[in-house]
């Protein structure tokens, strides 16, 4: 059994940067990565804003040194880039020196190629290589291959927008129980017509910059991203004299059991998830210094989450903000993106501003952090909620 679950490496690619350092610079400069969609041909181009990554698939393939006969979806490409950064950041040269697993997450999987070649598959042989890349596990298998992970536990979680938080949770539990010494955890999702149109039919896409926790919020911006973290046991940290970036201290998953897509009015599932995470961490609510909220800027989420935060923290709600106005909502990757941001917050004792906020919500009187704030941080709580009532909370800390 390992007492601590150490984070020893991180990698990320998002609309606000192609690596950890670039993401941090954008965060502290208040620079958002939201624009009109350019890489996907959609009729909704003028109705929505997205967080898009600049690189084309070809550029990403080149970075990974893939030959032209590869069948990587954009999800797999982004995931492989971020996961490789994480391994490098953790200073890992021999991945199989310790029992190493990979837990990735995705909601889109290879849908970007499926929607592109859906009917072409029937006639054009050259497109058929992507057929086997459709299922969600395919991107994970490719990332494992890119990292050189062999004969090990490799799996994929898909619980909509809480997916990557859940992959961190499972990774932490596998390390604590001693089943693995090291786990690469995270998530990846690319933009697709499928998700653009899906969220469009639910009428929760904003036609302008998203405004989390604002009274007049109009919905979310979709984004694409991938992020991975390396989790290691006490044994590995000691044996390798590893620099620890932060610890995964608590985690909780609960189901709202209210509606397939909407959150309950008072955020029952979210409340349970936060409380479970505090229990596992052995913390009281007052031990949390900053909450990186799910904060999608939909009418439903921000009200439900805000109420849940008040239920958990009472009168002493800690500083909180959503970073989704920077990156867009990156779906299955969001929990990992925000895990990286939470660790960066701890490392730099910084709380990020909740961009685009203008008007206080009338249902309650809590207000997100609006300006960049320096403050000694010991703990950060990160929330991720998804369809199917899936609610997840992870707590990161400086101390084991």
């Amino acid at each position: 059994m390992s007492k601590g679950v150490a984070i020893t490496g991180m990698g990320i690619i998002s609309a606000i940067g192609n690596n950890v350092a670039e993401n941090y610079q954008s965060l502290i400069q208040g620079k958002k990565g939201i624009s009109r969609v350019s890489k996907i041909k959609t009729n909704h181009v003028n109705d929505i804003m997205v967080g898009e990554i600049d690189f084309t698939n070809e550029a990403l393939e080149q970075q990974l040194g893939l030959t032209s006969d590869n069948n990587y979806s954009r999800t797999a490409l982004l995931g492989a880039v971020a996961a490789k950064q994480a391994i490098q950041d953790a200073g890992i040269t021999d991945i199989n020196a310790y029992k190493t697993g990979l837990i990735s997450s995705t909601s889109v999987g290879g849908m970007d190629m499926t929607e592109r070649y859906y009917y072409d598959y029937l006639e054009d042989k050259s497109t058929q290589k992507y057929i086997e890349g459709h299922h969600a596990g395919d991107s994970t298998q490719k990332i494992a291959e890119q990292l050189g992970i062999e004969k090990s536990l490799v799996t994929t979680i898909s619980t909509a927008c809480s997916s990557a938080a859940n992959s961190i949770m499972l990774g932490a539990r596998l390390i604590k129980s001693g089943q693995l010494d090291r786990v690469v955890v995270g998530g990846t999702d690319c933009l697709s017509k499928f998700t653009i149109n899906g969220f469009k039919t639910l009428m929760i896409l904003s036609d302008t910059y998203s405004t989390p926790f604002d009274e007049n919020r109009k919905g979310l911006n979709l984004g694409e991203a991938a992020a991975f973290l390396v989790l290691e046991s006490d044994k590995v940290v000691q044996a390798e004299n590893k620099k620890v970036l932060a610890y995964v201290k608590g985690y909780g998953n609960a189901n709202d059991a209210y509606h397939q897509t909407a959150s309950s009015e008072n955020g029952d599932g979210a409340t349970l998830a936060m409380q479970k995470a505090l229990d596992i961490a052995g913390y009281n609510p007052e031990d949390i210094d900053y909450v990186n909220a799910h904060g999608t800027a939909t009418g439903n989420n921000d009200l439900s989450e805000g109420r849940a935060i008040i239920r958990v923290f009472g009168k002493n709600v800690p500083d909180f903000s959503s970073t989704k106005a920077y990156t867009g909502h990156t779906l299955a990757a969001a929990g990992a993106i925000e895990a990286v941001y939470s660790v960066l917050a701890l490392q730099n004792n910084i709380i990020y501003p909740n961009l685009n906020f203008k008007t206080q919500m009338k249902e309650f009187n809590i207000t997100p952090q609006l300006a960049l704030k320096e403050k000694p941080l010991q703990t950060v709580m990160s929330n991720s909620f998804g369809f199917g009532g899936n609610c997840s909370t992870v707590i990161f800390s400086k101390e084991q």
Partner: protein
């Protein structure tokens, strides 16, 4: 650490498996390249108005979970962990084709919502009003085994007492069509009795839902104990026997201790060698197959898990699943091995209680 038991089972498959009092007594003999399930009478379990809106995968998952919970004698479970390779793929097909055919217009959200991979797990939570832990694993042929790993971890550490796990996948017409083109699905219709020896490319595909209540407390209904489970993203054919022995040794067992070896071979000439190699290593052991009965799909191994549970509880091995003939009549320990197209291998070890 606590032991982990299978306290109830439920199977919806291409065979008559819904009734737990029978055990493959009569076999549906198909001649096809896809095997749809024999549908339960959904109305007995789900109000018709709700059932009409539900995807096939959701309906199968909800019914199988209700049967499993009923058999376990529980009112509810502490957690729900679902495995699915493709989710409700028919709704994914519907939504993608509607986007293309109607040029992104006139779309409705239902098929988008139901194409979310955790829609089955979410719907089961809704039906049961279960606010507990709820995960969905979507990792090809180890989707179901991932649920098993997760549940076992929590039950051993006594974090939860009763966990519903299951594997569910549905057939989709377009998906089958394109899978034929790349020889995942066999081009020709094959008889159930002949598919495992067909020596052609691809598999006969299927669908189904197999759900189980796992618990860290044994009860009268208990089928078996889950001793060990391990998955491998890669494994070479030459390593399969050695890895099986290593896996058994981890539970202080050897080849001789295994009473039945249940193999996930599907009759794909390109990938069945993994199974024949392992079978060769266990040549004195009773062996069994099952994918001729349920078809191949990402969570087909959950049917194998169902089969093993039944064998251990009833102490019978139906003739139709026997791959060889030995004089084994007592079934105490069962080893399952599965892989799909050379990837995502798993060993699962079950023991009689």
């Amino acid at each position: 650490m606590k032991n982990v038991y299978i306290n109830s089972i439920a199977s919806i498959s291409a065979q008559k498996t819904l009734d737990n009092t029978s055990f493959l007594d009569t076999i549906e003999d198909y001649e096809a390249n896809v095997l749809p399930v024999i549908h339960p009478n959904y109305k007995e379990y789900i109000p018709p108005a709700a059932a009409r809106r539900m995807a096939k995968g959701i309906k199968m998952g909800v019914v199988a979970s209700k049967i499993a919970i009923q058999e376990s004698g529980l009112e509810n479970v502490d957690a729900i962990i679902t495995g699915t390779g493709m989710g409700c793929v028919r709704d994914s097909e519907k939504f993608v084709s509607a986007i293309i055919d109607n040029d992104e217009q006139y779309l409705t959200p239902t098929s988008f919502i139901q194409s979310t991979h955790n829609t089955v797990g979410g719907q089961i939570a809704l039906e049961l009003q279960c606010k507990g832990y709820n995960f969905t694993y979507v990792h090809a042929s180890t989707s179901f085994e991932s649920t098993l790993i997760d549940a076992k971890l929590q039950l051993e550490l006594d974090e939860e007492k009763n966990i519903l796990i299951g594997g569910v996948d549905e057939l989709g017409e377009h998906t089958t069509e394109i899978q034929k083109l790349v020889h995942l699905v066999k081009a020709e219709a094959v008889k159930t009795s002949e598919v495992l020896d067909s020596k052609t490319k691809g598999a006969v595909f299927g669908e189904g839902a197999n759900f189980f209540v796992l618990s860290n407390e044994k009860q009268a209904s208990t089928y078996a104990e889950v001793v060990a489970i391990k998955t491998y993203n890669t494994l070479a054919e030459t390593e399969v026997v050695q890895e099986a022995i290593h896996f058994l040794n981890g539970s202080n067992l050897n080849i001789e201790d295994v009473d039945v070896l249940i193999l996930g071979n599907n009759g794909d000439v390109d990938f069945d060698a993994f199974y024949t190699t392992l079978a060769e290593g266990f040549k004195n052991t009773q062996q069994a197959n099952y994918k001729h009965l349920c078809g191949e799909f990402n969570t087909a191994s959950s049917f194998g898990f169902w089969l093993a549970s039944k064998v251990l509880k009833t102490q019978t091995l139906p003739e139709v699943v026997k791959a060889n003939h030995t004089d084994t009549t007592s079934f105490k320990t069962i080893l399952l091995y599965n892989q799909y197209r050379g990837e995502n291998h798993s060993f699962t070890l079950l023991k009689q209680c």
